[in-house]
Amino acid sequence: MTRQHPLPSAATLSPIPLQQEGLSMTQPDTAASGLTIQRLVKQYGETYALKDVSLEIPAGSFTTLLGPSGSGKTTLLMSIAGFTRPETGRILAGGRDITGLPPEKREFGMVFQGYALFPHLTVAGNVGFALKLRRRSRSEIATRVAAALDLVQLSHLADRYPRQLSGGQQQRVALARALVFEPGVLLLDEPLSALDKSLRADLQWELKALHARLGVTFVYVTHDQEEALSMSDQIAIIRAGEVVQSGAPAELYDRPKTHFIADFLGRSNYVEGTVARRDGRPVIEAAGQLVPVPECAAVPAAGRPAILAIRPEKITVRPDDGQGPGLPGRLSAWSYLGATISCRVATDLGEFHVHLPTWQAAFEPQPGQALRLDWPPEAGRIVRDDR
């Protein structure tokens, strides 16, 4: 396989594209390889770290493995990297079976949690490590290390040791080290988890821009759902060793299949009740209320239990005038968050969380205020109960 995406310089990187070019995964002049994961099983004693995981990771995509800690997402990444040997199943890279290959033969870049920079080597020594192993000439190593450091804007720190760098700088060195040999796949294990929040936000933009520049396949492990939503082309949500659902961030957020996903990716309000039909349209009957449900394949037959999930920001609130549609409730608490007001409203169907854009809030919040909550039927999703 020839890999020829030249590392661009910082100058070409600096204006960070604010708008990603759609979800197109075809990138020009990349040698990124796609990954196919087929029915991986990994057991530790009695417990399954992975049970029958299959996943398609398109070439050049930014794919995030998202899940709570202990879900198996790191085991999956380590299996792709070659550090964990699954009991059964196959991993293909660019169509080639790599399941039995040791990590050093896979030619994937990897950024470890906590970076694992070699403390006895300088920044340049760390970045050049992979090239030295590949017996490249001294001049080639120097040129490539310089280009890689330029890419992460750390050229001025080449002679420092890792302990002399800040967390953010260490993270960039780890990136440069993993990218310097131009791998087709970059694996990242919670690379931002050790950094403070504002730095994390900056580096999210940078990582995304870097991905767009290089066209390398990124496989990114995180437990942070915001990180996953903001950077990925594809998110695979992993829970208890299984991929619960995978797809584009908007798809997962707007059309969660299960209660777990609706809860893990953002927040949701839930209406639990029995499915019924009124005038030929499906509704959920709960606590004497009839809540309309969008017509879709996931709606169970009438008389069956169902859960409806509604995103807090899709609900509109108005002062209760005793008329019109909507769910009556009383404001029990609210907090002002600048851009939004987060409200808790006590209703017959339980407590509802509502996020209102501040500029749209059509009322002055008062404790105990009578309100009406309303949302279009399409805002709700029937989710499978997997609590």
Binding site: F108, A116, F118, H120, F129, L133, A178
Partner: protein
């Protein structure tokens, strides 16, 4: 500590009383050390410059005497070889223990430390019982027909080195383990991920990072090896006399006290010098894993 038991105590501030108790507790060990350790040590140093006459004559003789030179040479090469062998096995053991499953680690460490509980004398006689010409090993090898004549395992430098290595391995393992525990377990996988073979990752990453442990272990083990007395005396069979045995010979047999104490003092100075070097490389507290 409650003050109710000592009604007269309030005259002294609380802090002073605690200090007083600490000093009282330390007094006995200090006295014991002075009488049985520092006083004899001073005597040794004094004798080395006064017997048979006042001056540094004994120290000059160390450099001129051919017997001393031979003994020092024997001591040096036996110590170097046994230290290197101890470090090699100690490194393997420490590596294995640090990388073993946590439930195994304490058992493996216990197995290493077990040898501390057996005295050197017993261990040396055990080796003799095993390795002498009519010992277990030779008899077995002869019975199964691997050898016709018994192999001379002991009463030669090999026997001395064997006995010394057996004793010194735990002293190599402890500092090495303390050091290896500080090496992040992700470094080797990181090197593998960048294209290093298992050995390449060890050679380029793990070994350089374990160098401080290796240096402190080697100085510690070498210092120990110089002072061996019983093991060379019994397993060497009088053929490879080492410094400690030679000193005992001077003091007990030939009664050349001045010569013996001068040699002893020189060794003491040498060991102190090495400890100073060691102290510059590592903190003693971290060497044995103390927090």
């Amino acid at each position: 500590m409650s003050g109710a038991a000592l009604p007269a105590a309030p005259a002294l501030p609380r802090m002073d009383r605690t200090q007083l108790i600490v000093w009282a507790m330390a007094l006995l060990p200090i006295v014991v050390l002075c009488v049985f350790y520092f006083y004899p040590l001073m005597r040794v140093l004094t004798i080395s410059v006064t017997e048979p006459e006042f001056g540094l004559g004994n120290y000059r003789d160390i450099f001129t005497s051919s017997a001393v030179r031979r003994v020092v040479q024997t001591t040096l090469w036996i110590c170097v070889v046994s230290s290197v062998v101890s470090l090699f096995f100690g490194y393997l053991l420490a590596y294995a223990i640090v990388h073993a499953a946590p439930s195994w680690q304490s058992w493996m460490l216990l197995a290493v430390l077990l040898s501390f509980w057996v005295s050197v004398l017993i261990r040396t006689f055990s080796w003799i019982a095993l390795l002498q010409t009519r010992g277990l090993v030779n008899e077995t090898l002869q019975v199964i027909g691997l050898i016709d004549e018994p192999i001379r395992f002991i009463r030669n430098p090999f026997g001395v080195i064997l006995g010394m290595v057996h004793y010194m391995i735990p002293y190599a393992v402890l500092p090495l383990m303390a050091n290896m525990r500080t090496i992040d377990t992700r470094y080797v996988p990181a090197a593998r991920g960048l294209g290093a073979s298992p050995f390449g990752a060890f050679w380029r990453v793990f070994l350089p990072l374990s160098l401080p442990g290796l240096i402190s272990a080697s100085i510690l083990v070498f210092i120990f090896s110089i002072g061996f007395y019983i093991t060379p005396a019994l397993l060497g069979g009088g053929r490879s006399t080492m410094v400690a045995e030679y000193i005992a010979l001077q003091v007990n047999e030939t009664l050349a006290w001045g010569q013996g104490t001068a040699l002893a003092s020189s060794m003491l100075i040498l060991v102190f010098a090495m400890l100073v070097v060691l102290g510059r490389i590592v903190k003693f507290r971290t060497m044995f894993g103390a927090a």
